[in-house]
């Protein structure tokens, strides 16, 4: 199996080259560059030209592409002209926030989805099942933006239980007690994480419910019943276990979604993660950051797929990757 993993990682290299080329091309099709519009108009043309030359903006596209791509391989994503800092540094700060938010969201997602999916599947057609389905349909039809606003309105403004945004209170940072800071960070994470989890559960609930119903009527369950196995054991051993397999492989897909797609949630909750950075960079045409983030998101997505496959081979004996 490890051979396959290695091969999949090697396949990633040409994929990355294609993606990076596309990203590079698109960002250069945008009008203007780092210097246009940000320079004192009274500066004389020769000085601007000298700057362009110094920054390498006058080089042919392939030289600039190779420069950029080569830098990426060494972890150097270039400079942000907006923030006037290295892109790697900016993203590094944000990535930590996004990572922890994604982990908390993921845990909450499964904590909500598994019991609900199992209950809905087990008591198919009952009132409980129907109310769970109603919840999923509401969550499915609510756009992230609307749900986020509702959550902020209710829990931050009306009830005042949670902060409406940010990742940590400035006052607490200055006090400097590590444990207090940690608790404060978690406190800020709860609202965006719950919002993300409420939306992320839908797919898992549907999948679990359908799987459980399907397995309940399978022939091997009938066979187990004909052996005299008590129904509780049948549910836990024959139905539940087989139904959780697809949900387990969905784990990394949810993680990828949270790492890359939590854009709207981070934006609405003013949570300083990669999604919010991505959004603000697009608004400010900070192409160095945009390009770097797209590349990072691609790597995360590809890694997530690979992780899914690895998890699947571990939990399902029928699947072996060769």
């Amino acid at each position: 199996m490890w051979k396959t993993v290695l091969r999949r990682i090697l396949i990633l290299i040409p994929q990355l080259i294609v993606i990076s080329f596309g990203v590079f091309l698109l960002s250069h099709l945008m009008p203007g560059d780092a210097l246009s519009g940000r320079i004192d108009p009274s500066l004389d043309a020769a000085a601007i030209e000298a700057q362009r030359e110094r920054l390498g903006l006058n080089n042919p596209w392939y030289v600039r592409y190779i420069d950029w791509f080569g830098g990426m391989l060494t972890g150097d994503f270039g400079q942000s002209f907006i923030h006037r800092r290295p892109v790697t540094e900016i993203i590094g700060e944000r990535a930590v926030n996004t990572f922890w938010l994604a982990i908390v969201t993921l845990i909450l997602t499964y904590l909500i989805a598994i019991p609900l999916g199992v209950l809905a599947g087990r008591y198919k057609g009952a009132v409980l099942d129907k109310s769970i389905l109603i919840y999923t349909f509401i969550a499915l039809s609510l756009p992230t933006l609307v749900l986020s606003i509702l959550m902020i309105l209710l829990f931050a403004f009306n009830l005042g239980w949670f902060p409406s945004g940010g990742s940590v209170s400035a006052l607490i940072i200055s006090e400097g007690n590590t444990l207090v800071i940690l608790m404060n960070r978690i406190y800020h994470m709860i609202l965006p994480a719950v919002t993300g989890a409420l939306l992320g559960t839908i797919g898992i609930i549907f999948m679990l419910r359908a799987n459980i119903i399907d397995r309940t009527y399978s022939e091997y369950v009938l066979m187990a019943r004909s052996k005299g196995v008590p129904s509780k054991v049948i549910f836990n051993k024959h139905i539940l276990r087989n139904s959780l397999i697809p949900a387990a492989s969905g784990f990394s897909l949810v993680l990828v979604f949270q790492l890359t797609g939590a854009l709207f949630i981070e934006m609405m909750f003013q949570y300083p993660g990669m999604g919010q950075l991505f959004f603000s960079s697009i608004l400010m045409r900070d192409s160095a950051v945009i390009n770097a983030l797209i590349i990072i998101f691609s790597v995360i997505a590809a890694g997530g797929m690979l992780l899914s496959d690895i998890i699947l081979t571990i939990v399902d004996p029928r699947i072996r990757i060769k």
Partner: protein
């Protein structure tokens, strides 16, 4: 009679469709003797499987109503609750299912699936259960039982999987094995092997088998007695010899006539006209086979059909057997 192992009395199994119950098994009475192979034959949709699952109430009882009696060991199985039934299921009465591809849990190794019934019906410890499972696997003809014990179902061929399910059903040496079309999903050479195996095991263990099948060849090879089922009712009951030598009921005769003979030059196969009516449109009065033999004078049928003993222990339902002739034979 002390010889009776299981006595089914006026069994009626109905399924709920759109809020209404329709009987798929409609008043079946049969006695299964000790140490016999009892075959139930009929087309698809005749209620054979519905009957076999009713014996230990394996249907989804939310949608099923089972009436009548299934007497076994001095108790009516239909009166028992789920936990008492679980003491009978697998221990005294076990089932072999049609499709070995789906009857085994795909993510549990074969061995533990055999041990599962031992867990609930015996006090064996881990080692004893393992030994028993390996012994069973070798009894059903596995060349390397230790290897099979640790295999997942998908690692076995279809025939081997059916052998494994047979091992599962034999685990607690049941008195009765219900084999629901055990060879339908297998190819012909494997079918013969599985049938040989079933017969050999039946002789060794002195248990009884209810063999559900639509294959008359299987019946001829295996069965001591045969019940022919049509539209939820038994239309003919006889010893296998009697039935093949002297078929009486029009349905039985049509079934036998529909088997093509090798070497016979046929332009068309002798199919039985029409199909078994679906549950919702099944005629509930008179002779149910009458609408598939429209050339027979309606007065030949009994209004309320009953069983007639045409020979000792050979029963036929309805009087139409007396004057039956095939359509292309012309009037009698």
């Amino acid at each position: 009679m002390d010889d009776i192992l299981l006595s089914i009395n006026n069994l009626r199994t109905s399924f709920r469709i759109d809020g209404q119950y329709y009987a798929a098994v409609d008043g079946v009475s049969i006695d299964i003797m000790h140490n016999e192979v009892f075959a139930i034959v009929g087309e698809s949709g005749c209620g054979k499987s519905a009957l076999s699952l009713s014996i230990t109430k394996l249907h989804n009882m939310n949608y099923t109503r089972i009436e009548g009696e299934v007497n076994f060991n001095g108790q009516n199985l239909l009166d028992l609750n789920e936990s008492k039934l679980n003491k009978v299921r697998g221990k005294d009465i076990s089932v072999i299912f049609q499709d070995p591809l789906t009857a085994l849990n795909p993510v549990i190794r074969v061995g533990p699936q055999i041990e599962e019934s031992l867990t609930y019906h015996t006090n064996m410890n881990k080692k004893e259960k393992r030994d028993r499972a390996i012994k069973l696997l070798s009894e059903v003809g596995m060349v390397n039982p230790e290897l099979t014990y640790a295999s997942f179902p998908h690692e076995l061929s279809g025939g081997m999987r059916q052998r494994a399910t047979i091992a599962v059903s034999l685990a607690c040496s049941p008195k009765l094995i219900i084999a629901d079309e055990p060879t339908t999903a297998l190819d012909v050479t494997i079918q013969a092997q599985i049938l040989d195996l079933l017969r050999k095991l039946q002789k060794e263990t002195q248990s009884s088998i209810i063999l559900i099948t639509h294959d008359l060849g299987v019946v001829a090879e295996m069965a001591d007695r045969v019940a022919v089922m049509y539209a939820g009712q038994i239309v003919e009951l006889a010893s296998a010899n009697d039935l093949f030598k002297n078929p009486q009921h029009p349905y039985t005769r049509s079934l036998l006539a529909s088997i093509p003979n090798v070497g016979e030059d046929l332009h068309r196969l002798n199919a039985i006209k029409g199909i078994v009516p679906t549950l919702m449109y099944m005629p509930r009065e008179g002779c149910r086979f009458s609408h598939r033999t429209p050339w027979i004078d309606g007065s030949m049928h009994e209004e309320n059909p009953d069983y007639h003993e045409v020979r000792p222990n050979h029963f036929v339902f309805c009087t139409c057997y007396k004057d039956f002739y095939f359509e292309n034979e012309g009037g009698a």
